[in-house]
């Protein structure tokens, strides 16, 4: 990017270019004064392309968002292919590199997160496809002499009069034409792919071992590094003895880096054996005083006082004084680890004035900038190769670029071409958790049992503190989302939501569905409790409170109908319901459970979602299944604890993940909706835990205020 370019306001303009090998390239970029951008693209592959049509008919869609399981590898290409009228079988996909033109259309940085990839790219990818189609059609008209109005496209061909010309044979010619800046998009009635669905484009390579994840990066001469990290959060190396590690066959080098001691070896096993042989004396620092127990105590104490105002209406003290009945509750939520299936890793090669990085990251641009800072290089000296992410859930999006920085430091300190690998234990103990939270609520009901006053105080660390997204007023909106903006408060005249932001040495981070992981639980179990106190059916009660929230109601009504809420379940089965909006989508779930040996067993979850237009309905369903099972794990098992500054959990035996035998039957229904498009990747997580907890209440008469549920032994109501 020249200075002149960056000085021009950032609007998305399309540009086209020819490929060296012949073909058409469609990019979005800033127009340069008096200069045909085509020339740029002929000299090299444009770094900011979105679509490449080869003379060989290959159609490559370049993704500004990364694939981590959510299916964007398929959804963005289908949006583009819809407008391009491409042959779906010829579609190839690749992740983009780092370029400003791939920045999120709303968030302004290159990020995959916030369940936003589909809605935020919907227009951009459609436009790219439509523009290419127009240019290909123009090329065909020119070549055949058939009037453009008489040319049509079909499945990768332009039909011009009696002639059928493939996109590939027209691509080079098309690339020389001026780019139309205003193209007509297809009306929904003509859609063949959008809203209908296609099969995942990454399914085959993910069933035969060919899909490449960061962990699978291998090159001749590349070494593997593992890092000994401080056992206490915030700890530092005081001194170390590497002689034992260096004696391990295969170990090549041991280097100190800011986050610990790295052992570099021919392969992972040698590096890991070397790490075991390290002798390190740590300076634990202040973190050694931290324990979950004292933390909970302190948070609980704070929760009795009003925090900084996150939302307020009327006068909550007066409201509570008027109430016919008062209810209070306190909730405790533990730290949680994302535990993506692929432990964190990153490969770095530094050579003279260049650096190349391979990793699975949700924040490639931020990570590249971090590498540049560490190496004292310019961003353009660094290449970022984003490979498939073996799960993200937010963990592969750290503003601090924690794992990429660590790998860059190792490569820099050792001068070696290294793949840094974290073990499951490193991943579990490495911080960046969903923060611990305590909520305290005082509500007042009127004589009819409806809430008229609600005081709600929340205590927990801020995930945005210290990042460029830190709020100015001290209220991290992600700590209170789902409560401060709760639809239930529409009908509560007097309410107050306050936030106390705690500071701890433990690094915290967004975690699939972020604040909604705890706020939905609190609101949905509390409202259930209110309904029960009022002697009303939980669905009917919610309907009254949600009168002004039609999308919540639509999801609630659909799930109640599909799960046959009004029908009695067989003996020993119980159900609970929850509805919540997150990331612009409205999800309601009914969980059906039984209690076996004092533990809940979830047999079935029925789910309804209103996400507006469901671009790839089966993909939406897959995300609902995924989110529900993620929510189930969180509800039943999710818990990290800290003693003397050390995380007590280390692997899947003490941080359990739901398995096949615990996986419920899941039925998903999509609300037929023309409302604003929301996301699908996270919104299924929030309602699952409260739906299960509400079912447990139906079964046992017990409300669960502390997660995970498995910490509470349960008994049937007898």
């Amino acid at each position: 990017m020249s200075d002149q370019q960056t000085a021009i306001s950032r609007r998305n303009f399309l540009k086209a270019g020819a490929l060296l090998s012949g073909g058409l390239l469609i990019s979005f970029t800033i127009p340069q004064a008096n200069r045909l951008l085509i020339q740029d693209a002929t000299t090299a592959f444009a770094p900011n392309a979105f679509l490449r049509i080869g003379a060989d008919n290959s159609i490559t869609v370049i993704l500004s968002h990364v694939e981590m399981g959510q299916g964007i590898w398929t959804t963005l290409p289908m949006i583009l292919a819809e407008e391009l009228d491409a042959d779906w079988d010829n579609i190839k996909v690749m992740h983009s590199g780092v370029d400003k033109d791939y920045n999120h259309t709303v968030y302004g940085i290159q990020i995959t997160g916030g369940s936003s990839s589909t809605w935020s790219e919907f227009d951009r990818y459609r436009k790219a496809g439509a523009t290419a189609r127009v240019m290909l059609t123009q090329a065909a008209a020119k070549r055949t002499g058939v009037a453009i109005e008489n040319c049509t496209t079909k499945n990768g061909y332009v039909i011009a009069g009696g002639k059928k010309l493939s996109y590939g044979e027209l691509a080079t010619e098309a690339s020389t034409l001026p780019v139309p800046q205003n193209v007509t998009l297809r009306p929904p009635a003509q859609w063949k792919l959008i809203g209908k669905g296609v099969k995942r484009l990454d399914a085959s390579v993910k069933t035969n071992g060919q899909a490449k994840f960061g962990m699978d990066i291998q090159f001749p001469g590349m070494l593997t590094a593992v890092v000994a990290h401080a056992p206490v959060f915030g700890g530092k190396v005081k001194s170390f003895d590497a002689s034992g590690a260096k004696a391990v066959p295969g170990v090549k080098e041991v280097v100190e880096i800011p986050t610990g001691i790295a052992v570099i070896a021919d392969h992972f096993w040698a590096a890991n054996q070397g790490r075991k042989a390290l002798k390190i004396i740590w300076d634990d620092g202040a973190g050694a005083n931290l324990s979950t127990k004292t933390q909970v105590d302190a948070y609980q104490k704070l929760a009795h006082t009003d925090g900084l105002k996150a939302a307020q209406k009327g006068n909550v003290d007066q409201g509570l004084a008027k109430a016919a009945k008062l209810l209070k509750a306190e909730y405790v939520f533990p730290y949680l680890a994302h535990a993506p299936m692929e432990p964190l890793n990153c490969t770095v090669k530094i050579s003279n004035d260049k650096c190349e990085i391979w990793t699975g990251t949700q924040l490639p641009g931020i990570d590249l900038a971090a590498a540049a800072r560490i190496l004292g290089m310019k961003p353009e000296q660094i290449t970022m190769n984003v490979v498939f992410l073996g799960g993200g859930f937010g963990r592969r999006a750290t503003i601090t670029s924690d794992f990429v920085s660590e790998a860059v430091h190792i490569a820099k300190a050792s001068g070696k071409f290294v793949k840094m690998v974290w073990t499951r234990e490193d991943d579990m103990k490495g911080g960046y958790y969903r923060p611990m939270f305590v909520h305290r609520i005082n509500t007042g009901l009127d004589a009819s049992g409806m809430p008229i006053a609600w005081r709600h105080n929340i205590v927990g660390q801020s995930i945005m503190a210290g990042t460029p997204f830190e709020s100015k007023d001290g209220v991290d909106s992600t700590s209170v989302e789902g409560i401060a903006d709760s639809p239930y408060f529409e009908t509560v005249p007097d309410h107050f939501v306050g936030l106390h932001t705690a500071k701890e040495v433990v690094p915290v981070l967004w975690f699939r569905s972020v604040g909604h992981t705890h706020t939905a639980y609190v609101m949905e179990t509390m409202v259930d409790e209110l309904a029960h106190t009022a002697g009303q059916d939980p669905v009917a009660y919610r309907r009254k409170l949600l009168q002004k929230s039609p999308r919540h109601l639509a999801a609630l009504n659909l799930v109640a109908q599909k799960a046959e809420w009004d029908k009695k379940l067989p003996e020993g089965r119980y159900k609970g319901i929850a509805v919540h909006e997150a990331f612009g989508s409205y999800v309601a779930q009914v969980a059906e459970i039984s209690i076996d040996n004092g533990k809940p067993r979830v047999h079935k979850v029925t789910c309804a979602i209103d996400c507006g237009l469901a671009v790839n309905p089966d993909g939406v369903k897959a995300q609902m299944e995924s989110g529900i099972i993620f929510g189930l794990t969180m509800a039943l098992y999710g818990e990290l604890t800290i003693e003397k500054g050390q995380l007590q959990q280390s692997n899947f035996y003490d941080y359990r993940i739901a398995r096949m035998n615990e996986s419920p039957e899941i039925d998903v229904y999509i609300v037929d909706s023309n409302e604003k498009m929301g996301g699908a990747g996270e919104c299924a997580v929030p309602p699952t835990a409260p739906a299960i907890a509400n079912a447990i209440f139906a079964a046992t008469g017990k409300r669960i205020y502390n997660l995970p549920i498995m910490n509470t032994p349960l008994k049937h109501i007898s």
């Binding site: 499951r424 899947f652 739901a658």
Partner: protein, 156 residues
């Protein structure tokens, strides 16, 4: 030197006998389809076949595999046409995909030994394989489908 037979190919590897088979496959033989998820026999991502049995290669010393028949995901079929692979694609099972090699290798043993698995059989055979993306409902469907395909002679 340790002699290994992987996917019908013979290899000589220079590895210490206690090196786990997983790392021999991945780091010495470049067969990266077999994944590292936990290293302690908890997640099943590293599942391969040793003489036809599903084993966790992360806790299996390479010495135990010496001279034995090892099959990894790369050798499950020649053209990605094992009934399970076909069913996996048909039901769009994979999400992030990282666990799926292990899931397929576990399912392949189940299906060979039990051509008609019930849901309970699937629970029993597959509960050692974690999927953090929660693809279990589709894995279950796909195993049933593969069983059908196998009956109809779908194994090509």
């Amino acid at each position: 030197m340790i002699a290994l037979k992987v996917n019908d190919k013979s290899y000589q590897v220079d590895a210490s006998p206690d090196m786990p088979l997983l790392w021999v496959l991945r780091d010495l033989l470049g067969l990266t389809g077999t994944k590292f998820g936990c290293g302690v026999a908890q997640c099943g991502a590293c599942t391969v076949h040793l003489n036809g049995e599903a084993i966790r290669s992360c806790v299996t010393k390479v010495s135990r595999a010496q001279g034995q028949n090892i099959v990894t995901i790369e050798g499950l079929s020649l053209n990605n046409d094992h009934p399970l692979q076909k069913a996996w694609v048909e039901f769009d099972v994979p999400q992030c995909g990282y666990c799926q090699s292990g899931q397929l290798m576990s399912a392949a043993v189940l299906l060979r030994e039990n051509p008609n698995p019930t849901n309970q059989d699937i629970d029993d055979a597959m509960s050692g394989n974690i999927c953090r993306c929660g693809t279990y409902p589709r894995i279950r469907q796909a195993i049933h489908k593969a069983a059908e395909m196998q009956k109809e002679g779908g194994k090509s």
